[in-house]
């Protein structure tokens, strides 16, 4: 039985020792293949006999419309935006992640506090305040960052959508009127921020420039090992070793 830790002190009413599942976080920029990889990983884990729940950013009912409005109109300050995202995050943490872990489920998180911290930090919100804000978050059992260089991200984005996204290009930062230049600058700043967070929180980096299969293989190997140590061997694998 695993139990969990938090970065700071726990939220009221949560018994960390009773959170028996595993929390696996996949981080990475848009077009890094995160959702494809998470989909495949989830299927594989269920085939192994684990119960799986998927969570992501902006999936809570509480402040969804406000975040949407802010994205459309760019009317909120970086701090107010950060607080809306934090509300969304904690709502999901308390109402989805914690109950799932309590039931012994493997929770696959499509991004976590690291993306939220990075986005706010490059918009000028100070690190200390952000880290304190998220100090009640659970420490994941493993965090994998899917790393793709900015020029390749551009190609991948064009291949799937043919347009650059306003926010993923950091157009709100006003670094350039040129979307392409802004995209590159923004993604480089995000990378630098992720690197800082990686050193601070020690997540693992997976080079995601290879094929979907190669990256998936890498993820399965690593996640499999983590789950073995956190949860004990999977039900399916137990059977095979017995026979």
């Amino acid at each position: 039985m695993s139990g969990k830790k938090v970065f700071g002190t726990p939220l009221p009413g949560i018994d960390l020792a009773r959170l028996d599942g595993a929390l696996i976080v996949i981080e990475g920029p848009d077009s890094s293949g995160r959702s494809t990889q998470i989909g495949l990983l989830g299927q594989w884990l269920e085939q192994q006999g684990y119960s799986v729940a998927q969570v992501g950013l902006r999936r809570s009912q509480l402040v969804g419309p406000e975040i949407e409005a802010a994205k459309r109109g760019n009317v909120l300050s970086p701090r107010t935006t950060a607080l809306f995202y934090a509300t969304d995050f904690y709502d999901q943490l308390e109402n989805r992640i914690v109950p799932a872990l309590h039931a012994g489920t493997v929770v696959l998180a499509d991004r976590y506090i690291f993306t939220l911290i990075a986005r706010a930090a490059i918009r000028g919100v100070d690190h200390e305040w952000l880290e304190a804000l998220y100090s009640k978050a659970l420490v994941p059992d493993a965090t994998y960052f899917l790393s793709v260089a900015a020029p390749e991200l551009v190609e991948r984005t064009f291949a799937s959508r043919a347009v650059l996204d306003y926010w993923e290009s950091g157009m709100d930062l006003g670094v350039s009127h040129d979307w392409f230049d802004s995209f590159l600058t923004y993604q480089r700043r995000m990378r630098a921020e992720y690197r800082r967070l990686q050193q601070r929180f020690g997540f693992e980096i997976i080079k995601a420039s290879g094929s979907v299969r190669t990256v998936q293989h890498e993820l399965r190997t690593r996640v499999g090992a983590v789950l073995d140590s956190v949860l004990g061997a999977a039900p399916h694998r137990e059977r095979t070793t017995d026979g």
């Binding site: 009221p12 009413g13 509480l62 809306f84 934090a86 880290e131 804000l133 009640k136």
Partner: protein, 236 residues
């Protein structure tokens, strides 16, 4: 992940704003809104540049708060965060620019309301102080103190329809809403008493006649703030 020093930095970097910040705090029924309204009128009459802001009033956040409260979806943490969002929005778009522009800003409730209420709801006091650490402290915070029974009487005699969260029903202190309100208010009052020492509130006896309290408030404001400096150009 440490809390704390972000707060000191925020205070230091904005210590030099031209404006002044005055807040009122106290239990529901303490009469603080009446007092700040009268102070507002007085300052306007003197020709001062003055701006008034009310707790939980940001248009952007209002819908989310209403939705959360209606569906009773909120935990102590998300309840706290949603109010912090409202405060951040008002602080960064109104209060701070007004202070920089040299206004006297009057706040009916400030972050201390959150520290008191969310503290009762079990949120970590350090986390709350850090969450609100981006704002500067008011130059003067008036705390309208009165015995619990008097405050309860003023509310319960006049407005018997209590709202779920106002009455602290989410805490499960009592199944009867009036009883829950009593228990919740008594705990909020304990929190306020602690905050009054911690943050150096000016405590006003809220059982005194309204005009006496107002005289005291105006006296202190006039003493601590050079009001001449805040008069609009046309009036100097």
């Amino acid at each position: 992940m440490s809390a704390g020093s972000a707060e000191t930095r925020a205070r230091r970097s904005e210590a030099d704003v031209a404006g002044r910040l005055i807040a009122v705090e106290g239990l529901d029924g303490s009469g603080k809104s009446t007092q700040i309204h009268l102070l507002h009128q007085w300052l306007r009459g003197l020709g001062c540049k003055v701006f008034f802001s009310e707790w939980n009033s940001s248009v952007l956040v209002k819908e989310a708060t209403k939705r959360g409260k209606k569906r009773q979806l909120l935990t102590p943490t998300t309840f706290s965060l949603i109010h912090a969002t409202d405060f951040a929005d008002r602080y960064e778009r109104q209060i701070l620019p007004m202070l920089k522009a040299g206004y006297i800003v009057l706040c009916d409730r400030f972050s201390y309301t959150a520290l008191a209420r969310d503290g009762v709801r079990g949120c970590d006091p350090q986390w709350l102080r850090s969450l609100y650490g981006f704002s500067r402290r008011p130059d003067i915070t008036f705390y309208f103190a009165l015995p619990l029974e008097v405050a309860l009487g003023r509310i319960l005699d006049g407005r018997p329809r209590l709202k779920y969260f106002e009455a602290g029903m989410d805490l499960g202190l009592a199944s009867d809403i009036t009883q829950s309100f009593r228990l919740f208010q008594s705990r909020v009052m304990e929190q306020y008493d602690g905050l009054a020492d911690e943050f150096g509130f000016v405590t006003v006896d809220a059982t005194r006649p309204i005009h006496e309290q107002q005289e005291l408030v105006r006296g202190i404001v006039g003493e601590r703030i050079d009001l001449m400096q805040f008069r609009t150009r046309s009036q100097r």
